[in-house]
Amino acid sequence: MFRNHPTARYILTRGGWYFLTFLVAVTINFFLPRLGPSNPVDIILAKAGGVSDNATRQKEESYLKEFGLAEVDKSGNVLRDAKDAPVRTSAWKQFGNYIFMSLKGDLGTSFMSYPKKVTEIIKTAVPWTIALQLPAILLAWIVGNVLGALAAYRRGIFDKVFFPLALGANSIPFFAFGMLLVYLLGILWPIFPAVGGYDGGLNPSFSLIFFGSVMYHYILPFMSLFIIFTGGQAIGMRSMCIYELGTDYVKYAKWLGISESKVLFYMFRNAMLPQLTGLALSLGVMIGGALITEMIFSYPGIGMAVLSAIQNNDYPLIQGCTLLITVSVLIANFTVDILIGFLDPRVKAGRGVK
């Protein structure tokens, strides 16, 4: 099939492959949180506290039903076993429902902020996270690559100074760097706000003032991510380029007396391609780090949603967020794959084969 449309076939095969990965991810996503011993309803009830016992029993049943954690008979009452404990729904059955619902775009109801829908929570959180991370990652990627390439090509003093710096930046954990920034620029010498995504006295709106305030609060978190990402990217690019510089085609280009800038460009372009893949792959790690940064700066976004959800075994929310992250990373990888396919003639040619 598609024998005469190599491109289409390429895209299809990649797509299929990513779908497989997606399924695996979803499965992990569902079962891992359930390895733990915990039962959310008990937690909810314990937190609700209270002095009336039959009220507690009523609640237990209604929540078990609500979250589909217990078997229900025809008349809609929770089944109870000999010891009068409710009969729990099997994990597989829950998994089935979960898949079915998520395909319908319903990620369920959060246990902890019942009756709020997970999708609701994520919807409000995601824009912040994207606004924080996308620029940081992309800009850092470009800046890092260019600097790395220069370091590799120029060598000499620039390299000697720049490379250790990049390496150093790369060795500081995201959040630790964030903490330092908060302490130095937010508290010790408070020129930037230490917490929050915008001024407390504002409501989100499209006013200039709000935008300004957002930007003002944006600097520290952005920098804390940007600088470290840049370091990491630069290092990768540097060694990539050094490798490219050693290749035959660069030698030949030099023998041909092709101008330096041209050779530099060759090297840069070819080193860029693996870097692109590298970016897509390391996205998962980056996002992870960035989420913790959100926590440090008390910055709105899914970072905190995930973390508090974990604290409270809020399965639906955990899964919602992790699923979101996974999917976005998968999509990123997929796009990069396709992109590479068009940018790199080697892959393009390889397409027809296998």
């Binding site: 035959d248 085609y249 030698k251 280009a253 023998w255 041909l256 007396g257 041209k262 003639p345 080697r346």
Partner: protein, 323 residues
């Protein structure tokens, strides 16, 4: 007046730890118009280094120690890298590297690579006329220009790639072309056609003389007018093809001939089995004959007395006892 002269050229590498490793020492030869000089020797004997030296291309850590290189009488030594790049490379001395598989930028179309090359030697040439020139040259050298030029290397066969390399390298009609194992990594039939092509170009006068480098002495039999046998950075023997192939005087050349005849083709990377031991480590200072350690006919004093070039039977030999 010789078109290309190398005068007692010595080169060394500067290691990152600051010590010099002599790679080529005291090499001299000169070439007339239309002449083909073959240089043979096992891998690591300094051929490739010599090549860079001949082009005045000193990329660190390679540095000139002494000597001079002249193209049509004018020296190319001691020039700025930029000058070398613009006026020597590909114009006076061009290079046809080995392993055509990788020497073309995989993400650049043939024509673009060539265009880049021309553009970086000549000011104010527009793409259109460049492509024009390319087409006619490629047709001239007998290639299906249109399909090849607008292809990526990966889409071409090894043979075609090597032809492209040759085509590009000779675009600016250089005086001297250095072909470093131009046919390695090619199957026998392709080898023949590629060699043929190179000589066509020579006959067409697109370039006027050629240095042909290989480690297969026998291969030179058909291509070279004169042959230099290189060992451990020195010329061991330099004479006409007749002399070197059929009547070698230097023990190394003899051994090499023996080895090559016994060695089956295809096993290129293999060292001459007939010769015991390995070439000396150039990083350490060497006294006496560099081949002495492996020489079947070594005399006691070979290890101590440094060998100089002698004229024996009408060719240069670096051996005190050759006659």
């Amino acid at each position: 007046m010789p078109i290309f002269e190398v005068d007692n050229l010595s080169l060394h590498y500067l290691t990152r730890f600051g010590d010099k490793i002599p790679a080529v020492s005291g090499v001299s030869f000169s070439m007339e118009k239309g002449e083909v000089l073959g240089i043979a020797g096992e891998s690591g004997c300094g051929k490739s280094t010599l090549v860079n030296g001949c082009m005045g291309l000193f990329i660190p850590p390679l540095n000139p120690t002494s000597g001079d290189v002249r193209v049509a009488g004018e020296s190319i030594m001691g020039r700025t890298p930029r000058d070398i790049r613009k006026n020597v490379l590909a114009r006076k001395v061009a290079m046809i590297p080995q392993g055509a598989f990788n020497s073309l930028n995989p993400t650049r179309k043939i024509k673009d690579l060539a265009a880049d090359m021309i553009a970086s030697h000549e000011q104010g040439v527009n793409k259109k006329e460049i492509y024009g020139r390319l087409r006619e040259r490629f047709i001239l050298i007998g290639m299906d220009a249109d399909s090849v030029l607008s292809a990526f290397p990966i889409q071409l066969t090894a043979g075609t790639r090597q032809r492209c390399v040759i085509g590009i390298s000779t675009l600016l009609n250089p005086q001297v072309v250095i072909a470093d194992e131009p046919t390695s990594a090619l199957d026998v039939s392709t080898q023949k056609s590629v060699i043929k092509m190179i000589f066509d170009l020579l006959d067409k006068g697109i370039f006027s003389s050629m240095i042909f480098i290989t480690h297969e002495l026998p291969l030179l039999r058909h291509v070279a007018d004169r042959i230099a046998v290189m060992y451990a950075g020195e010329f061991a023997e330099l004479g006409t093809t007749q002399q070197v192939i059929f009547d070698p005087r230097h023990p190394y050349t003899r051994a090499l001939m023996g080895a090559m005849l016994s060695a089956e083709p295809g096993q290129k990377q293999k060292k001459p089995t007939a010769i015991e031991g390995a070439p000396p480590n150039l990083a350490k200072p060497i006294t006496g004959c560099r081949f002495a350690a492996r020489c079947p006919e070594a005399r006691p004093d070979c290890k101590t007395t440094t060998q100089v070039i002698r004229i024996v039977g009408g060719r240069e030999v670096r051996c005190a006892y050759a006659e």
